[in-house]
Amino acid sequence: MNSSRPEGTRWWGTLGGVVAILLILPLALSAQQPRSVSGRVTAATGKPLAGAQVSVKGTSVGTLTDANGRFTVQVPAGSDTLEVTFIGYRTQDVAITGPVVSVVMPVEAISLQGVVVTALGVTRQQRTLGYSVQQVQGDQLANMPQPNLVNSLQGRVAGVDITNDGPPGGSSRIVIRGANSLTGNNQPLFIVDGIPIDNSAPSNSGYGGIDYGNAAMDIDPSEIASISVLKGPNAAALYGSRAANGAVIITTKSGQNATGGQMTASTSVTYQTPLRLPTYQNRYGEGSTLYQAGCDSGCFSYVDGWGGGTFDYFDESWGPQMSGQLIDQWFGKQQPWTPHPNNVRNFFNTGRTWNTDVAFATSTEASHVRIAVGDQDISGMYPGNLLRRINAAVNGGIDITPRLSASGAINYINRKGVDRPGTGYDAGNVMEDFVWFGRQLDMNRLKNEYMCTTPAQVQQIDCTLGGQATWNNLYHNNPYFTALVDGNHDTRNRVIGHAQIHYKFTSWLTGLVRTGTDYYTDNRERDFAVTDNNYRQGAFFQDVITRQETNTDFLLTAAGDVAPSLHLTANVGGNTRLSDHNVDNVNVNQLAVPGIYSLQNAGVTPVVANHLYREKVNSLYGTAELTYNDYLTLDVTGRNDWSSTLPGQNNSYFYPSVSASFVFTDALGIASNTLPFGKLRASWARVGEDASPYQLVNTYAKTDPWSGLATFSVPNQLANANLKPEQTEAMEVGTDLKFFNSRAGLVATVYRKTTRNQILPAQVSTTSGYGSRVVNAGEIRNQGVELQLNGTPIVTKSGFRWDLNLNFGKNNNEVVSLAPGLDALVLGTYWYMNVEARPGQPYGQLIGYKWQRVPAGDPLAGDLILNSEGLPQRDPTKHVLGNYNPAWTAGLRTTFTYKGLSLSLLFDHKQGGQLFSATNWFGDYAGVLNETLKGRSISESQPGIVVNGAVPVTDSNGHVTGYNAVTDTVVSQAWFENYFYAHEWSVFDATFTKLREVTLTWAVPKKFVPLNFSSMTVSLIGHNLYLWTKVPHIDPETAFDNSNVQGLEFGQFPTARSIGFRIQIRP
């Protein structure tokens, strides 16, 4: 257990330097003259194509053809290829053999995006697919380097809901087509080059912790060739149980077609600032007007921050008005009481993210290899926060004989995090400090005097212990003590690799054997220095997590024409998967000597635990794909799994799928310029899902040992020896259409999926001796619609082009049933606010308290019922206050291209869904938010908020017979502190629109491109640039953690607005 901070990793930084030197090498200017080349562009039919784009490859030089398809272009010296593009036709590269060049454009045979990667890594023409797959090209992701790959999908894929936890390096949650599972994982399976990878995330409670991020964020976006999102069980039926929530299939770049050797490099630097911070009031400082006589205009006086002074323990801002008067404060007696409007903003540094990638590739006819290194170096907005990710990848392939070929890849990832911000309602989260805060506090003071050394300090801390100096000793660390003295550091070393052999038995039969693994160890340590508010004698916690999943599979593929016009592709395959997940924890709750975070220095007996989870699944599967005349395709799949986590009698389960695709424009011969392509598709699938390990047999739970004696307790959950697999059934129908010479396209899908027999811990009355029991029960239904629209509204001869892409998804979710006798399943609860699943209602209901109001029928119906103090009172029954799922989501991408310039904007919208913001709730209670200025002083002598409401009228028996209207005046502090009793006013419509991305890319003219690189682009990039929302004070795109408990917010780390630039060179 070494507590030293990782500081010696800077050698990787030289990588960035090398690239920078490459980029600033003296530019080789050519002495040769440009030449003029002209020509004509026609379709294969001989029809001239007007408005086709003709550019000199690798330069920004280009033009458009005229009405007769003719063009003239000035070709810079050293260039010898023209690139001609026209929508609906395949892009042509034409060698410049002389001053006149004729170009014939073949029709784009494959409509839509052509080929996509589907289950088992099988590449297929999209036109033959009977289900929806949406593919995102890697260059789109690389243009906007994101710390988290999952965030790159925001706004780009229809029907996908993504939330993130705030701090860079934190986790993001992705759910496709709504939640399927009541209590299990609802996120899709991630697959890299055919190998499933881990995407687990630490499950943080809302009461503190560190968000170490979801594991898929280890993948470097610039290494991605494409991402296919398989949206439902239909698409993923062949990946087995875990893909019931869909699959995200990542294909990395390879060295194929890199004849003669190529180098690609890019570097980007972006800067982060908080996108949104709460609007604070800046007129009243810390203290109180209540609880002590004579404090009508606010009392505060600091002695020790423990209650020794007047309200000096009180972390609310109901104190004296800040007008420069002298008041005893934490850093000295009789100091001016003045506002510091930017105190919270000043806490944050400007973050810096530096991404550098270099890749080398080469290929011959019989082999190819690619080596890539990526470096992501982040210094966060949070003081002291550093994040580093190094990716090194090698992949290659070789044809050994004409029949036998082999390929493989290995990807090493080293990730380090230092001083990540804490989360949740915890003294380790600085954002909690800023909700419970004295608005007079000067952040520079807190920064300069966070250790207890300054003689001017009046507080009574024993400085010999090296403790902190803070404004409130009862509840709060100095935020700089939290950030810079308390610490956390984590390191993950990960290898993802595979090897495969491919053998061609005959012209129609091929075989594949593949094995791959994803292995990592993650070492996480959290240190609490002496005098930390949670651990006054210091503490440290260490978790070592090891995960490995190994998959070995084979696949036999037979393909051939079984009759004229009838093509069959059949696959038979099998897979065995072994997962190991090991967690070792050490908790030391007190240090012997300050500052040393090692087991030897434990001041108390360390609490240790280790857990191993192991699971194995064997599978056999087969598929058949029958295509008639290239326009009608029928797919059938079947898979049987044997899982170790289910009882022997139930551990084998089979699931089938069937789908069909019909290109009616070809079949009926109705293809035209208006409708060149049209396809209908339909599919049905069923997927089984197993349990997590060890749910069949009751075991005893280990409890804290007593003086060396091991002790155990009956567990709180009752196991079930008769579990059956869960079952998800899904169907979808859709259409893919192209219009107007393929200048516009529409993909539309409607779907419905139902998950039954869910394996869930059903809550039971604890009077049974158990809190829950594992059962097969419950049913969730999701149905919805997805639309993808794309089009090119404008193409002009001058070279201007405008493209639009719209993604839309609407999902309706219903919890059809829970376990028998169970009226509600509480997914999580914070501050009495429950997130629940209730039969007949959508998953993720927010259940909390409202105010008592006059019931219907009374003339005053709906008015607040006030108590004798004029304050509203909690209605003792909990009510549904909202639901966290958005009504619909949409992303709009618009791109403007003019010659070598391209401007792209991505907007992302979530409509509806509700959010309980405890930042608003407690921020109002604590008097720090702007709206709490209300009623602070009506006049100097009589502050107050005028409240209109009703009071009950009772008869002699105490029965309420009616209501009288009343008007009360309530002290502002009493009014806002009363918020605590009900959630109603802190639940908001979570609708928002974000300007998610802006990129402005300039293709550098060839003559300025150094060395032999044919292309170089410079981009200005911005991410999360603007937010439109009605939710006050916070960014509604937020969550506590990665679990199913969503729709709650407290003390979120501010999301970042990121602006910077990127330079890329390509062969």
Partner: protein, 500 residues
């Protein structure tokens, strides 16, 4: 395609299919792979008992139950931050946690010990200990909740009853009295059945002391029901008093739980004190101790940092409350001491109960003598166990104290009031009993807390929220049967006005 090529493809197909069958359907290791490598399927009762005891004591003597609830309403302690409970607002999540914590973390474990020990080859002495602890916990819980799932409870794993009916409090107390009377006959003196001393965190395996504890609990619960069922109360009390197993007469026999010096087995009050400063002395208790010149004051309370040497916080924090610096916190003996001791039941309580029983004419002896012995035992109860701590008072100090006119036993109703006031004082650190004694005796007379949100000091706790949905019909029946309106104001069954 040629025949030859087709056959080579066919051979490959067959080979791989065989491989597939080997790794797929025929994997016999699958089931054994799911055997939990982390946690045992069976453990000896000696390894279950310690945690069950610790968990139950932590629950019923710890911070939430005592400092945040049952010690606030009889005004032993006071909240100085966020005084919700002191103003009679109880967080529903806290009630849920108390309810769940008792049933799941402790009672179910005692139930398991009873089941395992009662089976063939089991050790009945563990069953006897578990029965005593279970009785104490159920009685303490029923003191605040009245009717509770009892008879049918804790059977989720045996009968599959996940919705147990609520047992009326009268039946709960009657059954507890019966069970406690029967423990000595459960016990085995076979040396092979000796209780592992290290697993018995209360008496170190001394069964004779467990019998005394059981008989003493019978005295407590017999007296508890005196106003509701006087005949039964007297019967049960006299039977227990004369039981050959005896009752706790000496502090050496006290049923007490002594914590270890360090986390996670340190005293929960101490653990809380390390990071929080939410609780202090109630003004009601401090003022009483001061007016009686009570030597326990300096042990119960810390001197203030400013203002009067000892000053309590009036419950509910009135608007003219003293500053926090001028309020006495709970004594360092209780808060700063990691291995502080909680007395579940001690000799002083037995003597107070004897004094009351003698005053009522149930047992022989002079009530004044029992009363003075009780005070003496209480003031010396930490002598044996508190390590470096001296007893509250020397013999001379005790004599001076007893000689005060207000302390001298008056007899009659005045005598009973004196006994009950002294019990209230002595239950510092065992607030559940202070709360119960105050409810059945009305002593001391308490003023309602400042800024209160109820019309009177609560006399019970609402049921846990989740019972409404998870055990609805039985919960509804219990609410109806007891006539509950708000969960705070309806007395439990034994809480009746004193019989004349």
């Amino acid at each position: 395609m040629t025949i030859k090529r087709a056959s080579s493809g066919f051979r490959g197909l067959v080979a791989v299919s065989i491989l597939a069958l080997l790794m797929g359907a025929c994997d016999k290791g699958l089931t054994s792979l799911n055997k939990n490598p982390n946690d045992p399927e069976n453990v000896p009762v000696a390894n279950i008992l310690p945690n069950a005891i610790r968990s139950g004591v932590n629950q019923l003597m710890g911070v939430g139950w005592q400092l945040r609830l049952t010690g606030l309403w009889p005004q032993l302690y006071a909240e100085i931050q966020y005084p919700d409970e002191d103003r009679y607002i109880v967080r529903p999540s806290a009630i849920q946690a108390y309810w769940d914590g008792l049933y799941v973390n402790s009672l179910e474990d005692f139930q398991r010990i009873i089941t395992k020990s009662g089976a063939a080859g089991g050790n009945p002495n563990y069953a006897a200990i578990a029965t005593i602890m279970k009785s104490w916990e159920f009685a303490s819980a029923s003191d605040v909740w009245g009717d509770m799932p009892y008879t049918d409870a804790l059977e989720g794993d045996s009968t599959g009853n996940f919705k147990p009916a609520y047992t009326p409090q009268q039946d709960i107390f009657n059954d507890i009295l019966t069970k406690l009377a029967g423990v000595s006959s459960m016990m085995s003196s076979d040396p092979l059945d000796a209780v592992d001393a290290s697993s018995d965190l209360i008496y170190g395996g001394d069964l004779s002391k467990w019998v005394k504890f059981a008989n003493s609990l019978r005295l407590r619960y017999a007296m508890q029901i005196v106003n509701a069922d006087p005949t039964k109360a007297e019967q049960e009390f006299t039977a227990a008093w004369s039981d050959p197993g005896g009752v706790i007469m000496s502090n050496d026999d006290n049923a007490e739980f002594r914590y270890l010096p360090s986390y996670p087995n340190d005293n929960p009050w101490h653990e809380d004190w390390r990071s929080r400063d939410d609780y202090a002395m109630s003004a009601t208790l401090i003022d009483t101790l001061k007016s009686l010149n009570d030597p326990r004051l300096t042990y119960y309370a810390e001197p203030t940092d400013s203002g009067p040497t000892y000053q309590g916080m009036p419950n509910g924090i009135p608007n003219d409350a003293p500053k926090l610096k001028a309020v006495s916190r709970i004594g360092n003996y209780w808060r700063a001491n990691p291995n502080g001791t909680f007395v579940i039941m001690g000799a002083s309580e037995v003597m107070f109960l004897a004094a009351e029983a003698a005053e009522r004419g149930w047992i022989a002896g002079n009530p004044a003598t029992y009363y003075q012995d009780a005070i003496r035992l209480d003031m010396t109860k930490y002598k044996a166990t508190a390590g470096s701590y001296t007893p509250y008072a020397s013999d001379a100090d005790i004599a001076t104290y007893l000689a005060q006119p207000r302390i001298q036993y008056a007899g009659g109703q005045a005598g009973l009031d004196q006994i009950h006031l002294q019990m209230w004082i002595s239950f510092f650190g065992n607030a559940n009993e202070a709360y119960a004694t105050w409810r059945r005796s009305g002593i001391p007379q308490l003023a309602i807390a400042a800024n209160n949100k109820q019309d009177a000091i609560p006399v019970r706790l609402p049921y846990a929220d989740l019972e409404q949905s998870l055990n609805h019909d039985n919960w509804q029946a219990a609410v109806t049967a007891q006539g509950l309106t708000d969960g705070f104001s309806t007395p439990v069954w034994w809480d009746k006005p004193p019989t004349p």
